[in-house]
Symmetry: C2
Subunit: 507 residues, 2 copies
Amino acid sequence: MKNCIYQDTVERWCVFEVTVEGPTDGNPFVDYYIKGVFKGKNEEVEVDGFYDGEGIYKVRFMPSFEGDYSFKIHCNFGDKSYSGNYTVTPASENNHGPVRVANTYHFAYEDGTPYYPIGTTCYVWTHQKPELQEKTLESLKNSAFNKIRFCIFPKHYVYNFNEPQTYPYEGTPCDSSSLTRDNFMDPKIFEGNDWDFKRFNPKHFQLIENRIQDLMDLGIEADIIVMHPYDRWGFSKMSAEEDDLYWKYVIARFAAYRNVWWSLANEYDVVHSKTIEDWQRYASIICEKDPYNHLHSIHNCFSFYDFSRPWITHCSIQRVDLYKTGELVSEWRHRYQKPVVLDEICYEGNIEHGWGNISGQELVRRFWEATCRGGYASHGETYLHPQDILWWSHGGELHGESPERLKFLYKILCDVPGHGLKEYPLSWDSVTGVPESLAYQGDYYLEYYGFSRPSFRTFYFDDTSKYQVDIIDTWNMTITDAGIHQGKFTINLPGREYMAIRIRKIK
Amino acid sequence: MKNCIYQDTVERWCVFEVTVEGPTDGNPFVDYYIKGVFKGKNEEVEVDGFYDGEGIYKVRFMPSFEGDYSFKIHCNFGDKSYSGNYTVTPASENNHGPVRVANTYHFAYEDGTPYYPIGTTCYVWTHQKPELQEKTLESLKNSAFNKIRFCIFPKHYVYNFNEPQTYPYEGTPCDSSSLTRDNFMDPKIFEGNDWDFKRFNPKHFQLIENRIQDLMDLGIEADIIVMHPYDRWGFSKMSAEEDDLYWKYVIARFAAYRNVWWSLANEYDVVHSKTIEDWQRYASIICEKDPYNHLHSIHNCFSFYDFSRPWITHCSIQRVDLYKTGELVSEWRHRYQKPVVLDEICYEGNIEHGWGNISGQELVRRFWEATCRGGYASHGETYLHPQDILWWSHGGELHGESPERLKFLYKILCDVPGHGLKEYPLSWDSVTGVPESLAYQGDYYLEYYGFSRPSFRTFYFDDTSKYQVDIIDTWNMTITDAGIHQGKFTINLPGREYMAIRIRKIK
């Protein structure tokens, strides 16, 4: 069995991998195929394998159930088929399976545990030097972030002129030594690329999947951006055939990692070489080739992709209004009837660009506005740095004031009974008072005031029930017991910004 | 001539008044009429007079030109007609005439001097005790406010349960001794009013017109709210005939004051007893009876009156979005092609209501957002007060942080060359950078960053011209000389909120 290696056991929702030795002649990425059928009592799953370089072919599978399983490998080389048996063991304590949509607007892991995304973005952290990647993981470990968006392709953009550690294809890049802020949009600078878009560089993908595994170990979802427009290498301008080869390779490699989400693109609408038909084709490749139905969405620059398309599991939104972000969640929930995730709502920072220079206060406010309407927001950080290491793209250390407050928000969110918040239907009286956002879940109410600074608020639910009231300072991260109340009652507040009141019926 | 008194001279755009003694029998407000024709070389104006109580009838006229004038009074009592001659003298230094619309989106006094409104609101300051009114005038004198909105009728609302100094009609009010926050909306509380809606109380109007004159002396426009819904006396529910009598009386008394603006209503759409036909009828009364074409508009609660109606001179807007106020100016300018005045955009304060508890920073930010789009905003203040004296309604002293910053803004605005700002047409490059608002006028540019905190911004206009650049801290009220620049240049900023850059081409 030397040329077919596999484990005897695998944990439920972990990666089961079959390795087969094979030919290195010709172009193994296109001349040979390998696929597998994985069978247990409750499922039979067929997946494509992939060539991993140096004569190694792999097929990966994520089992969704416990118990006895078998596999059968088919390929057009060597012995043509291989088979074996293995056992799927129960999931360990922190393994809840892949994240799914639950209750129309929210998320849960496959084992039913609610999942409340507190996302961040480090576009090309896996393409930076290893020490920096380790620092990023350390920062993530100490944060509340449980989802991170990042790219498979390297990134060419302001603050992003450095070369990646590896390239996704065999070949040589254009010369970037004369790149400046002034000429980086000039197409002339992109001349001289020499890639073979039919020969992947397995090392590039191995490095990324190691990071996907690291994230999985930290309980963090990997919201993988498969395509993007920030490109000087030509990876955004490949032919349809090359694109499809890329998509299939990516899915074959990454789909068995339970924490993967597919983000078809960042700012799909500025990838000018692609049409809606292209995006729909990529989507159908995912739907065909990913047997696990990972979450998928597509992120916009100027205008949304049509989130009502059935293959889109949730709205992955970049703000389309400079002033309203989380405040629009209700409208989007209503329109799309899917979870609303605000994946880009301006970053905490101080760079020159309007998309990266709000305060920690303003970013945290946007999170609360989204949360109290039953949506989710994402973090990013763009502080000027002497070596141009900006969290938003490179990872590294966090410098801002928002991450601690997002931990606090996450804690509040986890304490909500049931699963996820709904927006409260406002009555005239509430409108007079204009609570900036008011969420509820059963007999739990969360009223957030944002930049409003009421000195008190009066409530009335009924005459007989008793309610535990807490005053939450979302910025100073304190929860103050404001006592048990009945009938009509008034709660005094400090007249500061960013306060909330939490009311819970005592049963 | 004992029973027809008038002055020999009057200053241009000031009030020329003819007083005639007349009968007191019956109901002089409806049984008798008095009107006048005022004639100079350049104009002939016919106006209604009014009964001022105690056998005194008056006709008022505001001359728009200098020189020799005559008048002819007609009435249905006494000698039936009176006439005389008088001279209109040149306007004194601070008298620029009434405010008019200029350049589609802006305002100027009739003598051509630009007028940049920095408005405030003290709804019923003229109905408070005289000492408090004096305090209000003192506060206004030390402020930049050059427009104030206030009501003719008294106000019944939260924080507004006290009785006015006078009532507009003869009669007696309902008993307000048992009024509380809890019952103030209960119609039962309004029972017991006994008014004669055909007999005005001239004292009520005299007090108001004295205040209009005081405001005129301070160079402040009186944006008079003729009707409003905050009512326990029944003044918002009179018959059409009574309404019309009221409108004609108000116009006859106040129209000759050059600083008068007619605001048909505050929150017209919650004056539930009136229909659009009613408002249109009031508008036609103004158009017929006010010979000076004072500015007129009508202010909304939930939805705008149709500002495209030809009688409306400018948009008097209450925000319709909790988050965007000044940011919407461009949209409204484009739609209505009239000056945009945001007369209510949430007040600086700390009361429980969402319309009255933003910070000074947020209010000033909204002013700047409006200003840099070529619109205008208004101030209001609602801080809790031990005696419930809130500037927004009662006047008195200013407690907030915004008024000083609005003085600073006004100074900046007065330094703009030409007349009023235009919004800059944004290019893709500007959009990338997302300047929050960018205004210009000729070779003058004002870029305001609001809650964005860029550490630097780069500019390029042309290769040869020289530009004087200033960094404006709109909150700390400093203007820092950032030097003279040419070609492409970068301006460093402190990475704080509420900064602006001013760029002026050197000629």
